[in-house]
Amino acid sequence: MGAKVNSAAAGTANYVDERTSIGGFVKFFARKLFPDHWSFMLGEIALYAFIILLLSGVFLTAFFVPSMTEVHYEGPYETMHGVAMTEAFASTLKTSFEVPGGLLIRQIHHWSALLFVAAIMTHMCRVFFTGAFRKPRELNWLIGFSLMVLALAAGFTGYSLPDDVLSGNGLRIIDGVIKGIPLIGTYISYWLFGGEYPGVDIIPRLFTAHILIVPALILALIGLHLFLVFLHKHTQYPGGGKTHKNVVGLPLFPVYTAKAGGFFFVVFAIVALVASVFTINPVWNYGPYDPSPVSAGTQPDWYILFVDGALRLMPGWLFGLPLEWEILGYTISWNILIPSLIIPGIFFAIIALYPWIEAWATGDKGERHVLDRPRNVPVRTGIGVAMIMFYVLLVIEGSNDIVASLFHLSLNDITIFLQWAIFIIPPLSFWITKRICMGLQRKDRELVLHGHESGTIVRHENGEYIEVHTPLDEQEVWLRVNYPNHKPLEIADEFNDRGVRRKGYKWDRFKQKLSRFYYEERVEPVTWEEYQEALHHHDHGPSAQGEAEAAEAQQADAQLTNEWDKQDKAGAADK
């Protein structure tokens, strides 16, 4: 049955190929289009989403009216007849229902906005887990971080433009958060909204931010970001022949250029497909903004959900104490400040500063162009997973009403559960991830020292049964033994020999503690000696054939030794 289908498929392919020679074409593109690893395309997906956003955004700008002047709807959409609304909302309806292709372009714009942020975040995770942020790429990490923040800003300002009930509620929450800032909050809010919320200025102002300021900044920073990628050259996954001193890959031009152009159309096609099949942000359902109604299922776009979730998670009282204080006639609302400003602030600060935090712990001053396998840096990988879990829990809490009605759970139970989970799950997932990573490292050691299990059992003359292990080839060994083996920092004594306290001791001590947290527990890579010993150990029961094989293996090893050696020296020089 399977064979029949296969031969039928092959027949069809052959038929098409003979008439179009598409086979060669596919081969050509398949070979040249994509680089050695799909995860290097994540940044590119973000880039293409941004280009789609620019193109579709220009179209929308031609029809959107950024004004809060009140009009009565007279267009074709039945459930809006005669309804009072702002020009901004009316023009959004007009774009959707009267401009040819307008609705499709709106949906393309919004779907690619969601894609943009999702791609940025996965790209950021790729860079994080592979350690691509290490010297000399820390600055580019920071630029990338700014791009992420700007992407959130772009999304939020755009989401608010149609002036519908849903986004209006979102703005209302932001207004509340701003007003929660002690002393200056109300002033900022008045300044931003041009008076009491909502006023008539906010839409034109958001418009300027959304179509001019934020995209211009993003464009400039993307330019800088890519320039630095170009300057530093791309990092590479570990493997034979790849060192911190070279780059193995395809030439940028013309192969990379052609490949990138092709990939843009793939992304564009998928976005267009999704946008033409699935509704997004149906503002005609939500209706024009009016401060009084709030509907169930009121949520921001997914990338802002974590703030909403933090707000929903925060109790108003803690152990019987109110979290709203009144000091000298000023109200301080910790129940707003903590979830909406302090926690996101800390979370984002950790992301922004992470390359330096790790560099302190590692004390590594060398350039790192070969990526880490996540398992080889268990603590970093654990931290990353814990932060993702933290974020995801907040997103779930931000969707708690949807989760409750979907799974028929109690809204209150979900919140109470998550109030505990937010403290328990991230540390737990850190610990589990770290264990899994170290387990994988041990398994790698096993493999290097004892080879693959071949499944063949051999009986020796003395009656002993052993399983034959086939040794790993050079590439496989290389992958598993070449990683920076960092050890906790050693620091100079607190007092020098004259008993005077050393300057900077406290800072060093902090770095040492951090370093112990990272590297106290570790799995050492297999050393050359261990490897040799294991090889000889396996050579029992010598035969003529065995000897010949051993000689061959030795020859291959000689090459490897050199590299192994060099690698170690390079590593040592870095320190």
Binding site: V26, A30, R31, F34, H37, W38, M41, L42, I45, Y77, E78, T79, H81, G82, V83, S96, F97, L103, Q107, W111, L114, L115, A118, A119, T122, V165, L166, F263, V266, V267, I270, V271, V274, S276, F278, T279, N281, P282, N285, G287, P293, V294, S295, A296, G297, Q299, P300, D301, W302, Y303, L305, S399, D401, I402, A404, S405, H408, S410, L411, N412
Partner: protein, 260 residues
């Protein structure tokens, strides 16, 4: 403050109960005479059948005389035919498992039996009647006005177009997209369980019909394509990750695998 209110409540409760019971008994007496006019469609035969059905299916909870039992089920005196038609017609009654909220389930009676039950319950005390076909005809309503009425009165629980939403403690406002116009009307009129009553002074009969027209308009589907459950940005976000980013990454991996 809280504790005090609780205490006061406790002391007054028995007294209140007696007053309410007395009032109920007088009400039943007063209305049983006029019940024939209140339920003009139900014949005496129907009412008798209704009583039998009730005794067999409902009395275990609501009591033989439908006056309810403390802690089991409420009195049905004066809830009207509309309440029975809604509760039995959506399958909520007879209730089965106890939970945060009696859920809608497959209907267990024919419309004729429901009418008989409704007729009997209506004969116990005047209450809202089952609306006429004209009262609930979406074609006669103004969907745009319905949108505004819905947004101010219903969307906070049922979502922006009636896709449903969660309330506290496991209760939820169900999706309205499958509900019949008559049941929509009756729900507004009788306010089942956690839902408030929207009497005719609150939301006029015309406005109720406008709401029905609005909900009906939603059934035509979204102009933008498939609506992903009409529950807003959360489902959109999920789809952006799973479908959009998922497809794109899958295509890079696929082509990458083909080339090697």
């Amino acid at each position: 403050m809280h504790a005090l209110a609780k205490k006061r409540h406790h002391k007054a409760a028995p007294l209140l109960l007696v007053v309410v019971l007395l009032a109920l008994i007088t009400a039943i007496g007063a209305f049983s005479a006029t019940s024939a006019t209140a339920t003009s469609e139900a014949s005496a035969d129907d009412i008798a059948d209704g009583e039998r059905l009730f005794a067999a299916n409902c009395a275990s909870c609501h009591g033989l005389d439908a006056e309810g039992q403390d802690g089991v089920a409420p009195s049905l005196v004066g809830v009207g035919a509309a309440a029975v038609d809604f509760q039995v017609g959506t399958g909520r009654m007879p209730m089965q498992a106890s939970g945060p909220q009696a859920p809608a389930k497959p209907v267990q009676f024919t419309q004729e039996e429901i009418n008989q039950l409704a007729g009997w319950v209506a004969s116990l005390g005047a209450g809202p009647a089952i609306p006429t076909a004209e009262q609930v005809d979406p074609a006669l309503g103004d969907a745009a006005n319905g949108m505004e009425v819905f947004r101010t009165n219903c969307a906070m629980c049922h979502g922006s177009i009636g896709g449903g939403g969660a309330l506290t403690q496991g209760k939820f406002a169900p999706s309205l997209l499958e509900t019949t116009p008559t049941h929509l009307y009756e729900a507004m009129l009788t306010g089942p369980q956690s839902m408030p009553v929207f009497n005719d002074a609150n939301v006029t009969p015309e406005h109720k019909r406008d709401v029905i027209a609005y909900i009906d308009a939603q059934r035509a589907g979204s102009p933008g394509g498939l609506s992903l459950g009409a529950i807003g940005p959360v489902s959109e976000g999920l789809w952006a990750w799973l479908l959009l980013l998922g497809l794109i990454i899958a295509s890079t991996v696929w082509v990458g695998a083909r080339s090697s």
